[in-house]
Symmetry: D2
Subunit: 242 residues, 4 copies
């Protein structure tokens, strides 16, 4: 595993400019809070929707080991060409961490092959995120649960493929549960979905949330290995009658 | 589980019309051989690429419990609108069985979220398909392995998500292995990929291959249940401070 | 799948004889309530701890397709020989449904390979069991959730192997979550763990709980197939130099 | 993840003393070849069956991060007390790598909950181990496959639970396939089964085999985290009517 990791934090960066409440919580944008919370040896690049090519040029993506994705209100504005570019990089090995409302992003839906729909509610309610896979590197240093005094509720059924590894499950005050930390492999790349992070709450300043994201970056970093060879293949053994 | 199953067998149906060898093996089309091999109580509908709407109208899909898909040479001619229609039906519960070269169909790639690429070779070589999950309903009545004297080779790496259940693994004379029977859930629907069935070989007359497909149809038939409710949700419990 | 299923309901049957409250809820024993709730075509046998050989003679087990297991206070009294007998039958294909406090039974721990420990609390609190795998046959006919007004709490971390399929997740009033419906394969046999059913509550009269257990019986019924051949094997192909 | 890893290599160490052919391949014992192949920052301890307490005292196990296990002819001589000691350490987080004929060890069977039986043949045949999960850290630096000119054959059905992650699948000259690299979690511990390594072949000198084992050690190293709290739990939320 590479020790020096190039992380790109991608943020839609719209709520912060338009909504006073969000701006007061994240005055420099959610990407800044997410980036500042990363305890990872390496480099961090910021990219946002309104940058040229959404900040995700071929050059940026080529040197990105792990891409973090936060988006909510403008999924439709992300160009299909860029989505396909990110998708290709994931299959080639780039890690992808999808946060909160990113569940409805084009890239997450394309990688999952499902609607990624869910129940939701904004009611300032308590969320308690329980660890259900205690030996997983993504929960290193995390207690039995993470408690967030106020969050948006996401509830089951969450229309995702059965996770390769289910690490976290949320309890909500209003009566729902949610699979909140889900690991997948797609091609040579690893994908982690992590639920919390509604724009009106200071969730990305929470040390435990930051720790999970930092752990996930290390877990999702690419393995150094040649990409598989596909297509027509000569036999490795003698075939009778040939 | 519904006992009376409506199966739709979809076939590209091009090789049979253009290639003499294929026509001699499947004079009435591969779909006919597949349909005749189904030991399932219910009704069978045939649909092909050159039918209007590829034979997959809303009406046909609405009453289809399980769709079987064979295609190879004309994946690109399948209209995106029809692909999306099939996709929506799978998420709502319709079973889908993807055969052989259907691995590269738009619908399979869309449901998997990966390239679905693989190694391949046409060399009239032997394939031996081993059962690795003996208690699975898809291998009911199947011996330890199915031996096919001549088949096209498909080899790893097969770029699919890790199967929810891996039921069959192939050995090839030329030295490769392949995950040949793979179960997935997508939304409320079940998906089974089954490897064998190159158009120039009489694979779909093989009784064991037919048995696997028949079993897969029963396994993939929809469960009778209301579709989940998504979207904004009222709390089921009282939220403090509200 | 066999349509005619032989079910054996095994109950420790001690609480009902000693505890007035339990006796008032289950006057004929919990096994009777469980058996009466089974909507399965076939035969039902009752077996209890204090029967000779715990009611699980070779003859009984040989003809059992699916064994249901409820126990709590006397796990240690189950003889190892009988545990091994049940274990062997599961590996040979018999289905096993482990209910509630059966999580700590010798047979469940032996099949799981983990401690099967958990958090618990008796506080007459509300449980809401959410469906997280809507297309699974075990939740056929079940709504989005099952609500039980009073149950014992079981909370994470539940020390089980990651389920092959996670079907149900519980929310508890006191703030915990729990993986409540878990599918496994062991050898040729299927195992389903289902959480609810504390002895002081009328849980096994609940129509939705009964439906889940009935569905699970059908899901866990053995596949008709020869048991795999193990041990020394002659080559199926010519080995060079031999 | 801990960077400094304490590895204990456990070897039955009997074949080497009794069988001239094995002694000629592994003159200092298989454990020495395995230990010399480890490219891991940390310390390596050797332990063998005939050491006091099999070399696995409480002290040794307490400081072991990852235990490697090779055994074949004397599984029955391993004391149950020591097996339970290793089992407890795995559930608490110690990694375990089980090699080749270790599939029939008491500890592996106890952790798997199945018979762990398989087909086998000693016929000096070729094995080709294919990578089926290219992004997994255990295959970092490994090519598309590892070819071993002569090995013992292990064939399906291999009676193990469906692996949490299937990383490697073997092709054998004699016509079989085998799931050769299998990841599991048990409690807080990670378990990796790796097939190759018959005592009469120089398999543990193969650089690719050594690389896989070294990668597996890093993958299986424990996560730093408090062990979960089990047992009676006070509510985290107010329960109505209490």
């Amino acid at each position: 595993m590479s020790q020096h990791i190039h992380v790109t934090v991608w943020n839609e960066y719209r709520h912060e400019k338009k909504n006073e409440k969000v701006a007061s919580v994240y005055p420099e944008g959610m990407h800044t809070a997410i980036a500042q919370g990363l305890d990872v040896a390496g480099e961090i690049t910021i990219a946002t929707l309104d940058d040229e090519e959404h900040g995700l040029t071929h050059e940026v993506l080529e040197r990105t080991d792990v891409l973090i994705w936060w988006a909510h209100t403008a999924h439709g504005e992300v160009q299909d060409e860029i989505v396909n570019r990110v998708y290709d990089r994931v299959l080639k090995g780039m890690g992808l961490i999808v946060l909160h409302s990113g569940h409805f992003s084009k890239i997450f839906k394309k990688l999952m092959g499902t609607s990624c729909d869910l129940k939701w509610r904004e009611a300032d309610e308590k969320e308690r995120i329980w660890v259900v896979k205690p030996g997983h590197p993504i929960v290193e240093g995390i207690g039995e649960y993470i408690e967030l005094p106020q969050e948006e509720m996401y509830g089951e059924h969450f229309d995702i493929p059965e996770p390769d590894e289910l690490v976290l499950v949320s309890w909500f005050e209003g009566g729902e549960v949610f699979r909140s930390g889900c690991c997948y492999t797609r091609g040579a790349g690893k994908v982690f979905y992590f639920r919390p992070g509604h724009e009106t709450y200071p969730t990305y300043y929470n040390p435990q949330v930051r720790k999970v994201i930092s752990n996930a970056v290390k877990w999702a970093a690419p393995v150094q290995r040649d990409y598989p060879v596909y297509g027509n293949a000569k036999p490795l053994e003698i075939i009778k009658g040939q």
